[in-house]
């Protein structure tokens, strides 16, 4: 090799090495981590749910501590597509106990809270631009526990303190109630104690949720016959199937319908946690959650809250679990929807403790994880972690 060839080879080598200079660009909306700090000791933020609008903005629903009330107040929070804080609004103290989830119907956002005086469930519409609200009391529904949607149908799970029943109702955007069913939680004053403690946050935060399968079977996780149970119903009478827990000491902590009678689950049992990525459940019989084995996850906090959803990663359906570890990190676990195989895990957090509230797929194919960070180990602040599509693909 003559001298000129060596020089040319050297220059080519150097130019290859420096390719990273010209490639060093990224859209700052694709990946970020934000902590929304307030410089007051008393500031209190408990994030509940997040949705991304078509404009790229994120709307966050949360709860805040209020004086002279056993219940939590409501705040709304908006950040831009870069994750920067835009505006927030503390709702009047007459609205308390906002529940998961934020509903998006044709870019109109709704959530459900409770009237602090009448304890009636109230559907609240939010103007994304101004965060102004419009309320619509939901007739006959009190103590809201969870709200979800399938297309434009809103499904409300609530507790009727007068009749001691768990109620599941389809509601309209004007607050009117359509079809609904009520199931007794069981006789006696003690039965409702865990429910009331859930509302006043003086006891365990229980995993109430409701949903509907692709084949039209409604289900909810709530108190039924003295026990926290996953109950299946056709909204026309008695429950068609029940997956019983162990009073409030065991049961299902998250569920996602996959296909037929196959669900992805997580369950808790006297502090222990189990991940069950694929499980056949009888939706027309009586079974027990403690009979479901699942993968034990001792690294999760006792009776861990679990967020579970089915998302698409590189054209493949994945089950994404998010929960809290004993080391103060958020763990994301991705399982194949097809066979329940664990594909990847990711941890968020390092020194100050994190806990997860919710996650949502984003417009760019990434993921936004909403959580709480204890800044300086003592101030609970909202955090938003945006993973790019490429970062999400690493879970596959």
């Amino acid at each position: 090799m003559n001298r000129i060839n060596k020089i040319v080879l050297g220059l080519v080598f150097l130019s290859c090495l420096s390719c990273d200079i010209s490639d060093n660009e990224i859209d700052p909306t694709t990946s970020f981590l934000k902590i929304y700090d307030h410089n007051s000791f008393e500031a209190s933020f408990i994030p509940i749910d997040i949705k991304q609008a078509a404009t790229g903005e994120f709307l966050i629903l949360g709860a805040r501590r209020i004086e002279d009330s056993d219940f939590l107040g409501v705040f709304l929070f908006k950040v831009d597509e870069f994750g920067e804080f835009v505006s927030s609004r503390n709702l009047s103290d007459q609205y308390v106990h906002p529940v998961k989830s934020l509903i998006n119907i044709d870019e109109q956002y709704y959530f459900v809270a409770m009237n602090s005086t009448s304890l009636q469930a109230t559907l609240i519409a939010v103007d994304l631009g101004t965060l102004d609200i419009t309320e619509s009391p939901i007739g006959g529904a009190s103590y809201p526990l969870h709200v979800s949607q399938r297309d434009s149908e809103i499904l409300l799970l609530s507790y009727n303190n007068a009749n001691k029943t768990t109620d599941l109702s389809i509601i309209n955007t004007d607050g009117s109630v359509g079809t609904g069913v009520s199931y007794s939680i069981g006789a006696g004053e003690d039965v409702e104690e865990p429910i009331i403690e859930h509302f006043t946050r003086t006891g365990k935060q229980l995993p109430f949720f409701a949903g509907v399968t692709n084949n039209g079977v409604y289900y909810f996780n709530g108190f039924y016959n003295y026990t926290l149970s996953l109950v299946f119903t056709d909204l026309s009478g008695d429950a068609t199937g029940v997956l019983q827990g162990q009073q409030d000491n065991g049961g299902i902590s998250a569920a996602q319908h996959i296909e037929g009678s196959t669900f992805a689950l997580s369950r808790f049992n006297f502090g222990d946690n189990y991940i069950v990525p694929r499980q056949e459940i009888s939706t027309s019989g009586l079974t027990s959650s403690s009979d479901i084995l699942g993968n034990p996850y001792p690294e999760l906090v006792d009776d861990a809250p679990v967020i579970l959803d089915q998302i698409t990663v590189e054209n493949e359906e994945m089950l994404l679990y998010a929960s809290n570890t004993k080391t103060g990190k958020i763990i994301l676990m991705a399982y194949s929807s097809a066979n329940g195989e664990l594909k990847g895990t990711k941890y968020i957090g390092f020194s100050d403790p994190y806990s997860v509230a919710d996650f949502t797929s984003t417009n760019d194919g990434g993921l936004a994880v909403l959580g709480t960070i204890e800044v300086a180990g003592r101030f609970a602040r909202i955090s938003l972690i945006k993973l790019s599509k490429e970062e999400l693909n690493e879970l596959k």
Binding site: N24, I35, F350, S351
Partner: protein
């Protein structure tokens, strides 16, 4: 401005101190001088370097709700930490001009701090102030090439040099020290926590390029040439790996995010170089 003054002062000092060289330059050339008009030199150099990180687009993990973003913005401590360099020098000299390739291993160290404060609304004396001091060490292998011009001839030769460099990262880490004052826990005394150090190679792109200029003095002792120089490097590219700003930074979880930044560096080195061509007693060149 500080750097310009420093380099100017060094240049003037050298010109004054070695005015003796002017007399040597004017004497009648002999065979040795003719021989020395073309020479290859090979040498070693050691020294120190000071680095500044110049932020361009700024980023933070904190998005304040009720106070200005500027309150928690990073404060950079420029040219504050001395670190080392070592390398070799291969120089071709001809008629006062030299082309010099000076591969070296250079450590860049820079620091910034973030400060945060919280207080109780009803009793502002109850407050917590926190300061995060974050040190960064980036180790580069650098391939600079300089054009040097000797201002004078003789034993003592002040010179100026300009050039460019390409460097690639071989290692990096960052450490954070947290300190503060917690008046809410019943004491006004400051506190500190243990230093946390993490690997940070993924936070920086592999390449760094820039231009450089400097002044120096070489002094011949027998067949050895001692070289003292100072070089200012002006980085031309953003060294932060923007893709990994949040994703590969463990400290992102406490709100840290590297800004887009370019590096500036001043290095001082001392070296000794050996000629690769010799002259025999009968004035014949020996390579």
């Amino acid at each position: 401005m500080k750097i310009t003054k420093l380099l100017g002062f060094m240049l003037i000092s050298m010109l004054l101190t070695f005015s003796e060289g002017i007399a040597q330059y004017k004497r009648k050339p002999n065979d040795l001088d003719k021989f020395l008009k073309t020479q290859w030199w090979l040498g070693l150099r050691l020294g120190g370097s000071l680095t500044a990180a110049v932020p361009e687009d700024r980023y933070s993990g904190y998005s304040p709700i009720n106070y200005p973003t500027s309150e928690s913005e990073k404060l950079y401590d420029d040219y504050a930490s001395l670190s080392g360099l070592a390398g070799v020098e291969i120089t071709f000299y001809h008629h006062g001009f030299s082309f010099s390739l000076q591969p070296n291993y250079r450590r860049n160290k820079f620091t910034y701090t973030n400060a945060y404060a919280w207080s109780e609304t009803s009793n502002p004396d109850n407050s917590l102030e926190l300061q995060y001091e974050q040190d960064h060490l980036i180790d580069y292998i650098e391939l600079p090439i300089f054009l040097k011009y000797d201002l004078m001839q003789g034993k003592a030769r002040p010179f100026i040099q300009v050039g460019a460099y390409y460097a690639f990262v071989v290692g990096a880490n960052k450490s954070v020290d947290m300190s503060g004052t917690d008046s809410a826990s019943g004491t006004l005394g400051p506190f500190e926590t243990q230093t946390t150090t993490i690997g940070a190679k993924d936070l920086f792109i592999k390449s760094s390029t820039g231009i450089a200029g400097g002044v120096g003095l070489s002094y011949d002792v027998w067949n050895v040439r001692l070289v003292f120089d100072a070089v200012y490097r002006y980085g031309l590219n953003n060294v932060t790996n923007v893709s990994n700003r949040f994703s590969s930074n463990q400290l992102a979880s406490i709100g840290d995010a590297l800004d887009d930044m370019k590096l500036r560096n001043i290095s001082f080195s001392i070296g000794c170089a050996f000629p690769l061509r010799f002259i025999s007693k009968n004035n014949q060149s020996v390579n």
